[in-house]
Subunit: 215 residues, 2 copies
């Protein structure tokens, strides 16, 4: 079965696609432009009632929320492609922990920075310098903790690449390409090295080449 | 091994404890009062570098982020106590989806409501009626989607109780007890019935009795 992924141009859908590439799972894409309100169409809302991206269809099975989808495929195709959950239950626990850190600590400030810089005009937001500075400071504090963590292990969950690292790629990409706050990564030696390793994986380079992020 | 859970008085730690009760896992608790700044002590930051609750210790293993911890125990003790991930990979995918909906759609507005009502003085927040109204409206829209979902299945992920439902208990409790916005649940027939079923589980009643929420 070929997996259909909706909205490949957008960052959260790329979280799913890079996982499918790592797991060597065939997929096709369905374009949908949330900036044009296509997320609010009745047909789309039947698939994703919150009107958000991404959603996948896999035969009769529909699933939304990018971090749920990547967990589903990493486990369903455990023995295919890259192992993305570690090898033991305890490693998997750490993957889950850092996936949650990405979602709750890394994502909110970086999303706000992206919204107030790269997509302000498309989202109808007047960029607010106070909001930008506040979230820049928040993200810096989060990355200080990453720096400490990455001084003792090569990747976030341990010495293995996992969903936890992968989940940072789509919005981390905007921090380097678009937001103009690359220093937040480059001023931190271990974060910078980690970013170079994960963003140079063939899977991510392929995703960026196939589906250039909108700006 | 007895699991040590930090901060049982607080809502996100209760997410972990109710899971341990459902899974029939022995635990003990370590009191920590984040309102008194105990989350910023050097010893605590070694366990949870973000200074947040909860964290667990299980022998030499330390894990934080409540939704990571409940996934870890639900899987590690799969054949013990209540099955909380469903029976098939596809059911588990739906559990993951609704766990993410809880984290990203339900939690932010209800957390803000709780912060601006129940804990405003402890958090040093001046309750802002505009913020309250805005988040009340947001939560209402989220619960409209829950209402539709729960008109076709008994629980969020399907006709089985799961981590997805369990994860709503700690902050859902405050909506009924403290925030004063019970109508958001009671005005929605299926949400109201679902809430009664999940909040009357012996596990949750035991947690509330053992560790009364602070107000």
């Amino acid at each position: 079965m070929v997996v259909k992924v909706y909205g490949p141009a957008f960052a959260s859908s790329k979280r799913v696609i890079v996982c499918l590439v790592e797991k060597e799972i065939k997929f096709e894409v369905v374009d949908i432009d949330i900036f044009k309100g296509e997320g609010r169409s009745p047909d789309y809302l039947k698939l994703q009632p919150f009107g958000l991206l991404p959603v996948i269809r896999d035969g009769d099975y529909t699933l939304y929320e990018s971090r749920a989808i990547i967990r589903y495929y990493a486990e369903k195709y455990k023995s295919q492609g890259t192992e993305l959950f570690g090898n033991t239950m305890e490693e998997k626990g750490k993957v889950e922990q850092w996936l949650e850190v990405e979602a709750h600590n890394f994502h909110p400030p970086i999303y706000t920075l992206v919204a107030h810089t790269v997509f302000s005009s498309k989202l109808g937001i007047t960029p607010d310098q106070n909001v930008i500075q506040e979230n820049e400071a928040k993200l810096g504090k989060v990355l200080d903790i990453y720096e400490e963590r990455l001084s003792t292990s090569k990747y976030l969950a341990g010495d293995f690449f996992s969903l936890a690292d992968l989940s940072h790629l789509p919005f981390g990409h905007y921090l380097i390409n678009g937001v103009g706050k690359e220093y937040l990564i480059r001023d931190r030696k271990h974060v910078s090295a980690w970013w170079d390793v994960i963003s140079n994986r063939p899977s991510w380079k392929k995703v960026i080449q196939l589906f250039p992020p909108p700006t």
